[in-house]
């Protein structure tokens, strides 16, 4: 991919607008952050916006993105606590809130529990004051931006971030909620998250992208360009829940890179419900004996497009990975799944199960799926598969024979298809909230 993108002329209007839109970008007090930004900015000079000719983007047409102009939020939207109360997740006592990409301490809540044990949950400037070394070791190091224009763009304007540092052998009792609220049209935001789970620690992190008010017109779009980095040191355990429920006209492009230390365990559930066009790249790199579960759900309708690209890299022996990704596409929606599982030479006794199941609810809906297994070791257990189907008529008939209308029967079966993923979310109130949302979206009323 890099050879293709590198030689093309930059897509001037788009990238220049994005960069020119940062007049107030001030230098960071940390020289290494300035250097990181400069390095990323230099990549923007050579990288172009990907097109359908790029293998990694062949199903996802983002040319609309180039035609619209976005700039960072110039005016702050003032929100009271009550305005965002409905986004709260009961179990999460710690919450960092970003509005249009800007951290709002008044809306955030860093519970006292976090300060005792040396746990850090704060925005980047605050965290840098006390934990510069830990941050420097990971920030910008996991999410590669050399060949990724969106990661490069996010890094080039890196100013703030949500930072979670969990010290050695500390287990966070409650989940941490990272809430990113979009409130304005024509705004580009560049959310950034860094999670470092030290040896033997455990944490649950909820990354949540929401819209304050559903915009009415396609022209009222916003653009979220997010990057998340998660480092699990040896034996650490991280539950990562990612919910993308932005407005139906939003563009959401996100990169997440996860590094799994020896015998660490990463469990992730990502759910994409919103955005006109969304793209989520998740790269997980497994050290010896590491274990990950990467589950995902895209539930889309109308003319939405949701693209999920995952890469699970068994770099060392005895790694275990499991993946179930489901897409439900109605209307003329288009779902894309590209899941690569790589087993490197010498990564013996790797065990990987990957499954992609897709449900098409209308004749115009479309799914492109590409599960890929690349194995360079000879003693491994790997399976993968993909299915694309419609609702089973026998199942619909069964429910109708119990008195449910055709619509209710179809909704219930669609809900059930989605629920298998939603039910894996280990935070009860969030799970119930999403169950209701999915039920409403599948229109399950008898």
């Amino acid at each position: 991919m890099s050879s293709v993108t590198a030689i093309r002329r930059p897509s001037v209007a788009y990238l220049e607008t994005l960069l020119a839109g940062q007049p107030q970008l001030s230098g960071s007090p940390s020289a290494w952050i300035n250097a990181l930004r400069a390095e990323a900015a230099s990549r923007l000079d050579v990288l172009a916006l990907p097109t359908l000719r790029d293998e990694e983007w062949r199903f996802t047409d983002i040319s609309q993105l180039a035609r619209l102009s976005f700039s960072p939020a110039l005016n702050r939207t003032h929100l009271e606590a009550a305005d965002i109360a409905h986004f709260h997740i009961e179990e999460a006592s710690t919450r960092l809130v970003f509005v249009d990409g800007v951290h709002v301490p008044q809306l955030s809540s860093t519970a006292p529990a976090a300060s005792n044990s040396g746990v850090v949950v704060s925005n980047l400037p605050t965290a840098l004051a006390t934990h510069a070394a830990a941050i420097k070791a990971h920030l910008g190091r996991l999410a590669a931006f050399r060949d990724n224009v969106f990661a490069a763009r996010n890094t080039a304007v890196l100013q703030d971030a949500a930072v979670i540092l969990v010290p050695r052998n500390v287990a966070l009792a409650a989940p941490v909620h990272l809430l990113f609220i979009a409130t304005q049209k024509d705004v580009v935001s560049t959310p950034r998250c860094l999670v470092v789970a030290e040896t033997g620690s455990a944490a649950t992190v909820i990354e949540d992208y929401v819209v304050l008010h559903e915009p009415r017109w396609q022209e009222e779009a916003h653009f979220t360009n997010a990057v998340t980095e998660i480092a699990l040191e040896d034996n650490a355990r991280v539950n990562h829940i990612r919910i993308q429920r932005e407005g139906a006209h939003a563009f959401h492009i996100a990169n997440c890179a996860v590094s799994l230390g020896r015998s660490s365990n990463y469990q992730s559930v990502s759910v994409a419900l919103g955005a006109q066009i969304s793209r989520y790249n998740l790269d997980a790199l497994l050290a010896e004996g590491a274990e990950c579960a990467v589950d995902g759900l895209a539930l889309i309708a109308a003319n939405q497009l949701a693209d999920t690209h995952t890469s699970i890299d068994h770099a060392e022996p005895h790694g275990v990975s499991r993946q179930l990704h489901k897409c439900i596409a109605g209307g003329s929606a288009h779902a894309v799944f590209n899941g690569k599982v790589m087993v490197r030479q010498g990564a013996q006794h790797s065990n990987s199960v990957q499954s992609n199941r897709n449900l098409l609810l209308s004749a115009r809906a479309q799914v492109d799926t590409k599960p890929q297994l690349e194995i360079f070791a000879d003693d491994v257990k790997c399976t993968h598969g993909a299915t694309v189907g419609q609702l089973d008529l026998e199942e619909v008939f069964y429910l109708k024979s119990r008195g449910l209308s055709d619509g209710a029967a179809r909704s219930l079966l669609t809900y059930a298809f989605a629920a298998e993923i939603i039910n894996r979310i280990p935070v009860a109130s969030l799970k119930h909230q999403l169950q209701r949302q999915v039920l409403a979206q599948t229109g399950s009323q008898p």
């Binding site: 109708k400 809900y415 989605a418």
Partner: protein, 269 residues
């Protein structure tokens, strides 16, 4: 049981149906009155299950002739869900699994849907829980049945018990049990049969579609019908099942053949 003053629930006349263009039911006559228990037996491929599914309204089967009246109304004017609400129930030979939906959620949804359509009271989750637990006692079902996903990971016997539980909740006028006994061990068969017997009343009727006489030791039929090539070719009492068990089906078909030849001969004469 046969009652003197019972009403006709189901009246099937000359029913013909095809699946994928192949005629399976070829002029079937069948009458059921309230209070009665009927058993339909017959070799594989004789059309028993097709008949059950046609009554429930499965869209894969096309009705090409004849009539079916349910409580005097044309059954074919009703969609499958309307038949269910009107009181037709089919216990499936192979109940479907719905991973991701709790059995309690599913049972309450179907119960409340049917109740609302019948103009009766719906139950909230707590009320329903009490109500369904009473019904579950009939079938010796443990409470964890409610928390598990619908039929997912259920054994054959558990699935069939779950079917009869739905019958208990929906209180049909006409229950058609399609091979409910297939694949059950003796204990499960006893439990399922006891459940069905307790649900049988003077106001409803039960049609058992089965291969095996064994079931009829537990649920005693008033009528036993033999189906062959899409028609009912013989009807008798419960002793007919025992005779079929020892003699097989061939003699019934031979008798039927001889009888129709005689009839044709008489007509010609």
């Amino acid at each position: 049981m046969i009652y003197q003053d019972s009403k006709t629930l189901l009246e099937v006349r000359g029913l013909r149906a095809t699946v994928n263009g192949i005629e399976i039911l070829k002029g079937l006559d069948f009458t059921v009155k309230s209070g009665e228990v009927h058993a339909i037996m017959g070799p594989n491929g004789s059309g028993k299950s097709t008949f059950a599914k046609v009554l429930a309204g499965h869209t894969a089967y096309e009705v090409t002739g004849g009539s079916v009246l349910f409580e005097g109304k044309n059954l074919f004017e009703l969609a499958p869900e309307e038949r269910a609400r009107a009181g037709v129930f089919l216990a499936f030979q192979y109940p479907i699994e719905i991973p991701g939906v709790a059995n309690s959620q599913f049972l309450r949804l179907t119960y409340n849907t049917v109740q609302a359509q019948r103009g009766k009271e719906e139950l909230d989750p707590l009320e329903f829980d009490d109500f369904v637990r009473e019904k579950m006692k009939l079938l010796e079902m443990s409470h964890d049945f409610l928390d598990r996903s619908v039929n997912e990971g259920f054994s054959g016997g558990e699935k069939k018990r779950n079917e009869i539980l739905q019958m208990a909740l929906l209180e049909p006028r006409l229950a058609i049990l399609d091979e409910t006994d297939s694949g059950l061990d003796i204990d499960a068969l006893r439990i399922v049969s006891q459940g069905v017997n307790q649900l049988a009343s003077k106001d409803n009727a039960i049609v058992l579609v089965t291969h095996y006489q064994r079931l009829l030791n537990y649920i005693v039929p008033d009528f036993v019908h033999v189906m062959e090539a899409g028609r009912i070719i013989k009807t008798g009492g419960k002793d007919l099942a025992l005779e079929l068990e020892t003699r097989g089906y061939d003699w019934v078909a031979a008798d039927y053949q001889a009888a129709s030849e005689t009839r044709v001969a008489q007509e010609v004469a």
